[in-house]
């Protein structure tokens, strides 16, 4: 690692990038240069969203969001790592599933996914976790949305993530529970 300023940050850690790696996809870089394999390859063309990561602006962007003395983080943006070049990420903070436990929201989502038996093979799970976290971070402050409104938002923010195992319903319930505080599934009737 050279002494030059960080090219970007991954899960709070400054990361430099060799010039020869700038044309890599972010997913390749995460896997092969950082050994962070939690972000998954599914299609390679940005359709399945298994490679969803969160990206946040830093520096000047952060200052623009300062309001009334209270610093707010810039929004977390959904980025598909399989179709995004490393060079496009310069100066950004990148959040991957490996960094999820660092935040209370991330831990809540992980616990909710577990308690709702949201996933099966689990290969698509990091993508769902990240998409859900990004959605929740982008909810307007204040009163939580109604269940109907939340479902619409889930369709928008998470609805493109593909899963072949689950039928999605327990994923949806897990996300709802984090936002609305609802408890587990009860539709398995006698």
């Amino acid at each position: 690692m050279s002494d030059s300023p960080a090219y970007f940050y991954i899960n709070q850690k400054p990361v430099n990038v060799e010039i020869g790696d700038l044309d890599m996809t972010l997913l390749e870089f995460l896997h092969e240069r950082q050994d962070l394999t939690g972000t998954k390859f599914g299609c390679g063309i940005g359709v399945c969203h298994a490679c969803t990561v969160g990206v946040r602006a830093t520096g000047a962007d952060a200052k623009q969001d300062t309001k009334a003395g209270a610093k707010r983080q810039p929004p977390l943006i959904k980025v598909l790592a399989c179709t995004t070049q490393v060079s496009a990420m310069r100066g950004f903070h990148i959040e991957t599933v490996e960094g999820l436990s660092a935040s209370p929201l991330g831990t809540n989502l992980q616990n909710a996914f577990l308690r709702h038996f949201a996933f099966q093979c689990g290969y698509c799970t990091p993508g769902f976790l990240m998409a859900a976290k990004i959605m929740i971070e982008n909810l307007p402050p204040g009163k939580p949305p109604s269940k109907q409104e939340l479902n619409r938002l889930i369709d928008v923010w998470v609805g493109d993530n593909l899963c072949r195992c689950t039928g999605y319903l327990q994923y949806r319930e897990a996300i709802q529970s984090v936002v609305l505080g609802a408890t587990g599934s009860s539709r398995c009737a006698k």
Partner: protein, 924 residues
């Protein structure tokens, strides 16, 4: 660790026949066993275990001598045992691993240059576009492997040789996606650069003149089966064994004569020129096949890191490749990772064969990652089917006769298509007693994409046909769709005379008696009572630009691998007093690891703290062999099979539970008896309650203290069993803890203190059946289900929206209800897009051209999902047995959806997928 022992009878014969002195070992990724639920991801002990403990330490780990935190209440899971690694993004899939994780170096990369045409001569490879910065180290082509006397095809079966693995210059490529060459690159950077140049580059593979495809018609079918049954005169496969083949054609003539002689019976079915047709379907699991291989020429050993449902077969085929070749191979060690989805698509896939083929030509480890394009091009598919089927039904609604002929387009390489054709044929009559039935199933070779097993294994096609025809009949006869089904149901309660004169309940189309309560009447009752069915005729919903329809269907999916299935289970108390389960089974996401983790609780008072999946080594040490004769100590009737998704809840659960029972009787009972000062026999009647062993009139004993005493006393801490199920369990007797247990539901027991150094317990007598000889029954276990599907159909766009689905399932005992629910929801999603959108067309426009991805293969998305309700019936019988439901929950959905579309559009569709174009045409 490897053992020079046969794995299955077939494998044994194959190896013996080849003269190979070879060994197979299969084991789970150490992370599975060490830390799945304990958080100790860094303690993997094997020298070649992943060094990089990805393997993130998760928070709040409980002390492992206490209750496992994934399942603190015995018999109940709070979350999946494999849950934490999956939400942490830990390394658990084959695609995650690098050579250095196993201490292997250097790491080379593999790239397959594939043919995307089969209609012209393959003229050779052009790699001139790769300069010195990205040229391959090794080019593996047909001539190269033939020169080293490596087997050029996968294996031989059914009287024909599989086509070559690699394309031959001067010949047509044998199948779409056939590699023209496998290129080995020295590192990732060269690989990455070369991949960019080679992907979709039309100049790489050169084709000559157009040339007709090879004629395959002279080759044998992959398999062909006939099930003919009449009740008058009695005739069927089970009871007319000796004369069956000769007479079955006459029976068909008799059935045709009977329907001709009864003009009042109405015929419903395909007519001249019309067929039921289902397309080839991709399993579409999310992790494209990936793997890592390391060939050690000094040790003549090959290690494969795979996500697979059939590690045993993968290892066997790998060995076969190098029989009598210049590449010396004595052992193959498969390290089984969690598959990122399976659905049958990883059961005898060809990916591991190619990886094994290339591995010896690398100078180090070899890493290979399929792209999604390659997965669509070469991955196993549900076989395309086309078939005739006709039902004859009396005016009062009795099904009088059935004739059908399933044809599966098996593709160019042999896989499991024969067994699929067989199950399709034997499932033709579904859950109905039909007095005259003739069903055939044939799998044929073709130039189509590779067929293989996939969720349902031929039964979704069978149920689609009969359930839509019955619905059509009900409509024609103005009968209630439930009423017509109810009067034809199979039942264990009916008293009939079998073909051999014995009394029986109803029988399958093979003539096999129904052995268990199928709960079909209850399923229909629940469906009939449901508001969705009661309100299906709401006229208001037919107004406007959309049409509303509600359809219903039943299914009787046969789960299990055959009429006789073998299974292993092992439980181990570790020195830290935690409990670990070992199983040959693989969890594809179906929840098997979780269910099996709960299995020891009844007899050991706790759920497992960890589980090792895909662990075949520890069981192969016993050398059990179905071919050894039943007086041999090594004899068991059937060994074990691949990890199909419906084998865990009943079969595998039983094996692990029985291993726990053995350990209880051998080690826990004597210690408890000593403490209580009672006989071992009395102590054996104790039961667990909230982590304490209780016997009336005595002070409860704490589990952890009992385990501690057991470890301290050097009592046996590991127990393994083998069991065979054939309608009932084969039984044998054993001396355990000083007591004789004459009739246990297992046929082999071993005890020890180290999973790899187990001592068999001598059987008191050879194992014996505890029920009828079911060897000719084809299948003995069924998981019936019924579904109601409601749809709205947009008249203008032809779009079908699935509004609501209600499933009623004879699940037996649910080990973990949320996992059963998840299986059901996933099956609904899969069946929806199977019927409405998924297809892998043949020819140059299909996925064989290497340009298919998820952008042109729509599967059900989150926003497409309807409201769902799953109703699981109370378990019949003793209430303790579960049924294998992972495939069963999908089986009625497709047919019910087609029936709903028929109600909404007034048109019966026999060809899937039913596209918006098809729907729009129905309204013209």
């Amino acid at each position: 660790m490897a053992f020079d022992l046969p794995v299955t009878r077939r494998t044994f014969l194959k190896l013996a026949g080849s003269g190979a002195v070879a060994a197979i070992s299969i084991r789970s990724l150490p992370a599975h066993a060490y830390g799945m639920c304990t958080g100790q991801y860094t303690t993997a002990p094997n020298s070649d275990s992943p060094k990089n403990a990805a393997f993130i330490q998760r928070p709040n780990v409980c002390p492992i001598d206490e209750r496992p935190d994934w399942a603190r209440t015995p018999g109940k899971a709070d979350y999946r045992i494999d849950g934490w690694p999956k939400v942490l993004g830990a390394k658990i899939y084959a695609r995650d691993f690098k050579a250095r994780d196993f201490g292997w170096h250097p790491e080379h990369w593999l790239y397959a240059v594939r043919c995307n045409r089969i209609d012209a001569i393959f003229d050779g490879l052009h790699l001139g576009m790769l300069d010195s910065t990205c040229d391959p180290l090794v080019i593996i082509d047909y001539d190269m492997i033939a020169g080293k006397r490596v087997n050029t095809s996968c294996y031989q079966n059914y009287g024909y040789q599989d086509p070559p693995l690699l394309a031959q210059i001067g010949h047509n490529p044998d199948f779409y996606g056939q590699p023209a060459a496998l290129l080995i690159f020295s590192d990732f950077d060269r690989y990455r650069k070369a991949k960019r140049i080679l992907d979709f580059n039309p100049d790489v593979v050169r084709y000559g003149a157009a040339h007709a495809l090879a004629d395959l018609s002279h080759l044998d079918t992959m398999g062909s089966y006939v099930y003919a049954r009449t009740t008058e005169p009695p005739f069927d496969y089970v009871h007319n064994g000796k004369t069956y083949s000769a007479q079955s054609k006459q029976v068909l003539s008799g059935i045709k004569a009977a329907v001709a002689a009864n003009p009042a019976w109405l015929r419903f079915g395909t007519d001249q020129g019309t067929l039921f047709e289902t397309p080839a379907i991709d399993p579409a699991f999310l992790e494209p096949e990936s793997g890592l291989a390391y060939y050690d020429s000094d040790k003549q050993a090959l290690q494969l890191v795979l996500g697979t449902q059939s590690p045993n077969d993968d290892a066997t085929y790998a060995l076969h490749l190098f029989d009598n070749s210049d590449v010396k191979l004595k052992t193959v060690d498969v390290i089984a990772c969690f598959p990122g989805g399976g659905f049958g698509g990883r059961d005898r896939s060809y990916f591991p064969v190619y990886l094994a083929l290339a591995a010896p030509f690398a100078a180090g480890a070899l890493r290979w990652q399929s792209s999604r394009y390659e997965q669509f091009q070469m991955g196993l598919k549900r076989s395309q089917s086309a078939f005739n089927e006709a039902l004859w039904i009396s005016p009062d609604g009795n099904i009088e006769a059935l004739i059908c002929d399933f044809e599966l387009n098996g593709g160019r390489k042999d896989n499991l298509q024969s067994a699929i054709a067989k199950l399709a044929a034997v499932s033709a009559a579904n859950c109905y007693e039909i007095p005259r039935a003739y069903s055939s199933g044939t799998a044929r070779l073709s130039h189509h994409p590779f067929g293989g097993s996939q969720r349902g294994f031929g039964t979704p096609q069978a149920f689609m046909a009969i359930e839509t025809l019955i619905d059509e009949a009900a409509q024609h006869l103005h009968m209630d769709p439930i009423a017509i089904r109810r009067r034809n149901l199979l039942s264990i309660k009916h008293n009939r005379k079998a073909a051999d004169g014995t009394s029986t309940g109803d029988e399958t189309i093979a003539g096999a008696p129904i052995l268990f309560d199928l709960q079909l009447e209850e399923i229909l009752d629940k469906l009939e009572q449901h508001p969705l069915w009661q309100t299906r005729q709401r006229s208001g919903r037919k107004a406007g630009a959309s049409r509303y329809g509600v359809g219903l269907a039943l299914s009787n999916h046969a789960y299990g691998g055959s009429s006789q299935d073998g299974m292993f289970g092992m439980v181990e108390i570790l020195p830290d007093l935690s409990l670990r389960v070992h199983t040959t089974y693989v969890d594809m996401g179906n929840g098997a690891a979780t269910a099996l983790g709960l299995a020891p609780s009844e007899y050991l008072g706790t759920n497992a703290h960890a589980i090792s999946m895909g662990q075949i080594d520890v069981f192969n040490q016993f050398g059990l062999n179905p071919g050894s004769g039943n007086t041999s100590d090594l004899y068991v009737p059937a060994l074990y099979g691949s990890a199909s998704s419906c084998l865990s809840a009943f079969h595998q659960f039983h094996a692990v539970q029985q291993a726990a029972l053995v350990l209880f009787r051998q080690s826990i009972v004597p210690i408890a008896a000593k403490r209580w000062k009672v006989s071992n026999k009395d102590a054996a009647s104790a039961h667990w309650n909230d982590g304490r062993l209780e016997l009336t009139g005595h002070r409860p004993l704490d589990r952890t203290q009992l385990f501690r005493d057991l470890v301290h006393d050097k009592a046996n801490t590991v127990a393994a069993v083998h069991a065979t199920y054939a309608g009932t369990f084969w039984q044998a007797g054993f001396l355990l803890g000083g007591e004789k247990y004459e009739t246990m539901d297992v046929d082999f027991v071993a005890l020890g203190n180290d999973p790899y150094k187990m001592q068999p317990v001598k059987r008191l007598a050879p194992p014996k059946r505890s029920g009828p000889n079911t060897s000719s029954y084809i299948r003995v276990t069924f998981a019936p289900a019924g579904a109601i599907v409601a749809v709205s159909v947009d008249v203008a766009t032809g779009r079908v929206k699935v509004e609501q689905v209600v499933t009623v399932l004879s699940s037996g005992k649910q080990h973990c209800p949320p996992i059963v629910l998840g299986q059901s929801n996933g099956a609904i999603a899969m069946a929806m897009s199977n019927v409405l959108s998924e297809t892998c067309p043949d020819g140059d426009d299909g996925p064989g051209n290497g340009r298919w991805n998820f952008d042109r293969y729509p599967i059900t998305r989150m926003r497409d999902m309807p409201e769902t309700t799953l109703i699981c019936l109370d378990a019949p019988g003793n209430g303790k047995d579960a049924r294998g439901i992972a495939e069963a929950v999908m089986c009625p959905i497709g047919a019910a959806l087609l029936n709903a579309i028929a109600m909404a559009t007034g048109r019966r569709f026999r060809i899937t997928p039913v596209t918006p174009d098809d729907i729009r045409k129905a309204f013209v």
